[in-house]
Amino acid sequence: MTLTLLILIPLLTALAVLLCKGLKQVRTVSLIGITAQFIFSFILLYVYWKGRASGNSSQFLFELNYTWFEPLKIHYHIGIDGISLSMILLTSFVVIAGVLVSWTQEFLNKEFFFLLLFLSAGAYGYFISLDLFTLFFFLELAVIPKFMLIGIWGSGKKEYSAMKLALMLMAGSALVFVGLLGLYFNTSLNGEHSFDLVEISQMHIDAGIQNIFFPFAFIGFGVFSALFPFHTWVPDGHSSAPTAASMFLAGISMKLGGYGCLRVATYLMPDAAHHYSPIIILLSTVAIIYGAFVTMMQKDLKYINAYSSVSHCGFVLLGIGMLTQTSINGAVLQMVSHGLMTALFFAAIGMIYSRTHTRLTKELGGLLKVLPFISTVFVIAGLCSLGLPGFSGFVAEVTVFMGSWENPDIWYRLATILACASIVVTAVYILRAAGTAVMGPITNNHYQHLKDAKWNERLAAGILVTGIVAIGVAPFWLYNLITPDTEYIIQHLGKALTLK
């Protein structure tokens, strides 16, 4: 089972796209490639399950460890566990939906699809890499395509947003970079430093050192997943981006951060994780509540979803900060669920925008009558985002709550309660948005003869909804997929505690 395919398939597709002529070929080729990828990721899931079922209990499966820069001990080391696998699945869902949504992307179509595929290749690479250098490589790989996508195909003050996004993310990765170097030079396996995630996890790094470099890594990754107060790229970026890009941005690249916080910061620096957990919790709680309230005041659908993403990603960081297994499971679930949900949301908004050419709630209204399918999708996304049972959002949030509550400290519980309180605010802004935009009388007569979703849009929405419901109704498969791997993290944290 060679994981490198995960990177190669989109990459080759991207190159193939460059050879195509005209939108028709481009989109067909990319759809074929992405579908292949989609199927492949499911095959991967199947094989992974088989592997686990057959008692393969090693932490990572399908490992490949190829020495890249021998003198610097940099390896191309890849492998997957449940967490990364779930992320991979998420990515494949979002990307295929993204391609479908941008089916009629006429302007500079070749470049558009190329960048999209390139981006996805980066994300896959990120999720499978077990070597910090490779990880960082793919982390930064994903920044510039976003810049291009937003800047070229975006709307509104796109240049500003694109620049802001690129710079803030780069600043984030700069911090990550320092953190990684710090780790590297303080690991010594018989005198040799190492970038290898697995090796580092087996070494013991002095707590003092950890406390120095944890903030770099965590904040750095945190910027990617909208850690308060470094979240300001999120609203602008998301709202200016073209639909597919916003889907990708909110659906996947914000998860890069969460994944990094978990995999690198928390897993490799457990002492520091304990040391800083109150701060993390404070920040994430602020992000959750504050994000929710800010969302309440937004007028633009994309801004609404963007800020709600801030609030929702707060749950991810909260879950990580709480450092209990359930909460970390919750964080992972939340990553997946938020990815799907927000992608769906952006897809719906994009479909609405492409028809009505406005995203302001007050200018919309009564779309349910003319665009029943799209509006339904919109409402579903909304309900998922406000944590309705039967959809993934509920499962994830509940798991986070449960996990956070396991933490007996009174302040942690207070934070948990505050976090819970956000679900009410969420309900408020989601219902306001839905109520004004989708329900109510038709405000604008031009809307009378709008066409409802086409097959590609229906398919895209369908795929995402399937994902959401599959997790919402039967979460156990995903939960059981990730539990053994969060187990490792917990053991690590536990060891850190005992060493104290």
Binding site: F69, E70, P71, L72, G151, A162, M170, A171, V178, L181
Partner: protein
Amino acid sequence: MNMGIDFFILMKQEWAVMIVLFILLFIKVGSKDWTNENILNLVNILLLLNVIAGFFGYKEGILFNEMFKTNHLIATEKNILSLGTYIIALQSYPWLKNNKNILEFYILLLSTLLGMFFMISAGNLLMFYLGLELSSIPLAALANFDLDKRKASEAAFKFIISSAFSSGLLLFGISLVYGTTGTLTLSALPEHLYGSPLQIFAFILLISGFGFKISAVPFHLWTADVYEGSPVTVTSYFSVISKGSVIFVFMTVLYTAFKSYAVTWYNILFILSVLTMVIGNLFAIRQNNIKRFLAFSSIAQVGFILIGISGATQAGSASVIYFVLIYTFSNLGAFGVVGLVSAIAGKENMEDYKAFYKTNPMLSWVLAISLFSLAGIPPTAGFFGKFFLLMAGAGQGNYLLITIAALNMVVSLYYYLKIVKAIFMDSNENPVKKLIIAPSPKLALFICVTGIVLTGLISYVYNYIFSMSIGI
């Protein structure tokens, strides 16, 4: 010492350059007059041969009682330089096509290259000084090559005056070194250097001389003006070849001759690199002329290189040489496009690049990729280069420096992206017309892009350089 065959082998690269030089001279004095195209093509072929010749028959040795030394590493450095020169020669095609002094141009260019070779191989401060002068005095003439341009002559004047000034200081330093140690041989220096104030002063004077050539702040002020004034080709030569060569020498001198001052020069490099990065970036942000902009960006790059040098390990020197190679590709890629635009369309301002993508997609991509590589964005080689430089620096455990550097990378990204934005996103009523490009610049750009893409991903290059480089 047997001045036999190895007298030729060891100096093979110098011989190659000299042969080309003399061929050109004979053509010049020869009665038969050549068309520009023929000359240019001939030159390109000769330079290609020169590059290839560089890769054969490595031999380690010393000549002229340590006035000339060479080894695998030095040979490689020379190869990098001659490769760069070759690319520049290819790129200068459209600019020189209608120029009547092509031969002189190349004679000057090659003599500077020769100077650099001698400088790199110098085992002796005298040879080093001569090489330095040989590599800088003709450059002044080259800077002035667009004879009728006001800016060109101003640039040339500024360059020659400041280089004379700096070499004056350098000489004063050398004389003090000589006075306090009694030797000019680099390898003999260490045992005579015991850190007396006067020696340190002399050392600082020397560093200022280097700093001038590699344009490290505060010795950089000539850079931008000269880069802006000179013809693009010469600018790129300045920014890549002459800078790169001095960086090589600087590193070897620090690592070998002054290794006993390691602490001192680490601190000096710390200060210089921070200054260089910050000032370079701050100035680059607000530039409008793209050559001037590239000048400042290349100043900022030097800051990163200095960090790599400060690493003072095998990895450090390897990363520096590696980065210079990558920097050659990236910067020449950028300058190549800029040069084409300025030579064909005669435009050198950033506004002119707005909506460049509409008319010249390929060139836009080349420029963009080169800029990304300069900014250190994966998967371009620049990423690896920067990463390894900073990694080498981090080996010293000074994470303050690394953090500053990392944040400076962000700032630098800002202005690189500004150009990308102009190219791809801004609209423009009269963008640059579609450019018709001659094959040789195409080839040059192709080499650059290939270099940018492959040098990083293929780890062989780095490992190869690492295998032969030596730390302190």
